[in-house]
Amino acid sequence: MNSPQPQEKGASGKHRLNTVLGICMAICLTAMAVLVFGNVILRYLFNSGITWSEEMSRYFFVFMIFFGSASAAIMGKHISVDLLVRRLAPGNRRIVLVIANLLSIVVLAMLAIGSWELAEINRNSHGPVTGFPLWLLFAGCLGMAVCMAVVACRDLLRALTGASSEQGGNP
């Protein structure tokens, strides 16, 4: 959980980023709800529909997940099990935290690299109905992976410097 008192400069930057992510998430959720609901309404009241609604709402959904996952990582809300780690002696816990964060950073880097490669491959691809540039989906995934990796780096530094390992998110 986050500590309530704002410390350091990083904390306010983190807060600002989280606010921006929150606005983006809310916009995506609203947009997908309006698109899907609009289609139901059009179907029954006007016997028509928006052909691109299904596809476009899916893209909003994917982006909502990227924003939301990054935000949840910043706030330490991804589901994890700290039962074992909490029972370790402080020294051992530090070792485990270092390993855990390093591992997380490594796979998040793999995810980021994979996203980059796919964005490259798809730089000329478009959604079949909407014409939406598909590389954006992978760019979004890249952004999420980087964001989550930065959080893990922060936690790694905390574990290394021995700063209170109580707070901060799960890796």
Binding site: G22, M25, A26, C28, L29, T30, M32, A33, V36, F37, N39, V40, Y44, E54, S57, R58, Y59, F61, V62, M64, I65, F66, F67, G68, S69, S71, A72, M75, K77, H78, I79, S80, V81, D82, L83, L84, V85, V96, L97, I99, A100, L103, S104, V107, L108, M110, L111, I113, G114, S115, E117, L118, L137, F138, C141, N170, P171
Partner: protein
């Protein structure tokens, strides 16, 4: 076999190290890739993105949004008030209130955790004030919370439907009766255990007060009718049902109850989106694992291992449920559904077991897993909302947990309990 062991080890060790389950799933997939000598960062990214890019799964954020709107907009509170007015004055009444509220709320919300938190925050303090044991009260709320995953709408049933290809609408309709039975099992158990507790019942409300509570909650009670009716009569798909529920909840909260400000609304959208993302990151990461398990032939391996039981569906089901129960104790629900469904479905179909029936059983079983340590998200949520210890909740919950397990066993022995009412409804 080696592949299966590598996957399980590479999943459980990182989880034990406190790594979030979504990332542990990617680590386990990478371990399989290395073992199969087909390491590729693109497999990770490709499956993660396409695992999330799914129209049917959009029902999840919509139902979560509907649930959060109902909590913030006063619908949840009115349902609890109705329960209080109806049975609050009976001996052990607060317990019945909790169970009835859990069933009603289950028909509005798709998530067991959300249910537990929303009801627990209001009902646990009330129950403690009325003289009930804190752990027993918290345990009851938690075991009532898992009904939300069985009675439609249900996030777990959506996940199962998407992975297995079984009709989500059918699963929703099939969940109604077993979900009610879970409530009934709790009522019976509560009737037995509450005799021993000291409590002071609430004063009895007169008829006009009961009517007022009913009138005030009628808007909430209409929603399950809309959802089930809409699905049954082909007015919308499950995803559209979710968005209809959300708009309905918005309308009732803003126009009829007038309890939502714009700032609150923004908060609700934000928290719904974040909650969805946490679930969906698990879903997306699981789809990497599922892909790699297909590459490693693990579904076929498991099929071969279980094929000896294909002649006896009951034995097969008992075995599968024992395995699922054990896995459910140590894993979160979403990844288990996404990873086990493709592994188990071929065996289930081969043995001639009805896939809709299996889905319901599977989800009830995993719902029970949400209540058990070491990894139980409902247990954890209840512990925090009841402000007690995990051990305490487990103790207080044990009779209810046993009742749910007995019900599961009963449904395994008599599939008709699920299938006959489903046949009537569809």
């Amino acid at each position: 076999m080696t592949e299966l062991l590598i996957f399980v080890a590479a999943l459980l060790v990182p989880i034990a190290f406190g790594i979030s389950i979504a990332i542990a799933l990617i680590i386990a997939s990478v371990a399989l890739m290395l073992h199969l000598d087909m390491f590729s960062t693109q497999v990770i990214a490709e499956n993660l993105v396409s695992g999330a890019n799914n129209f049917s799964l959009m029902a999840i954020p919509f139902f979560i949004l509907a649930g959060e709107l109902m909590n913030a907009g006063g619908i949840t509170r009115r349902i609890i008030d109705l329960g209080l007015a109806l049975v609050g004055h009976k001996r052990g009444g607060m317990g019945y209130v909790s169970i009835i509220a859990a069933i009603l709320f289950a028909s509005l919300s798709g998530s067991a955790v959300a249910d537990t938190v929303a009801l627990g925050a209001v009902l646990i303090p009330l129950m403690i004030k009325a003289g009930y044991d804190r752990n027993r009260a918290t345990g009851l709320i938690a075991s009532g919370g898992i009904i939300a995953g069985v009675i439609p709408p249900s996030i777990p049933l959506i996940l199962f439907g998407v992975t297995s290809g079984v009709s989500i609408s059918k699963l929703f309709l099939a969940g109604i009766v077993p979900g009610m039975l879970m409530g009934l099992a709790l009522i019976l158990t509560w009737w037995i255990v509450s005799h021993r507790d000291e409590q002071t019942p609430l004063p009895k409300q007169n008829t006009s007060e009961v009517l007022r509570a009913l009138r005030s909650s009628v808007w909430a009670l209409l929603l399950p009718v809309i959802i089930v009716g809409g699905l049954r009569f082909g007015i919308f798909t499950p995803t559209e049902a979710g968005v209809v529920a959300a708009f309905y909840a918005l309308l009732v909260s803003v126009v009829i109850y007038r309890e939502l400000t714009f700032a609150q609304l923004f908060e609700v959208f934000k928290s719904s989106a974040r909650l969805t993302s946490v679930i969906m990151l698990l879903v997306a990461a699981s789809s990497i694992s599922a892909w790699m398990m297909t590459m490693a032939d693990i579904p076929m391996m498991v099929s071969d291992m279980l094929s000896g039981f294909a002649d006896s569906p009951l034995l097969l089901l008992l075995l599968i449920n024992a395995i699922v129960l054990i896995i459910g104790m140590t894993m979160d629900l979403a990844p288990v559904i996404l990873i086990l469904t493709p592994v188990l479905m071929p065996v289930i179909t081969e043995a001639g077991i009805d896939p809709v029936y299996f889905g319901i059983i599977f989800i009830i079983n995993l719902g029970i897993g949400l209540l058990t340590p070491p990894v139980g998200t409902v247990l954890a949520a209840a512990t925090s909302v009841g402000q007690t210890t995990m051990g305490g909740v487990v103790r207080g919950m044990s009779p209810f947990l046993i009742a749910q397990l007995l019900l599961l066993f009963l449904l395994l022995l008599f599939p008709q309990i699920v299938l006959v009412p489903l046949h009537w409804m569809s």
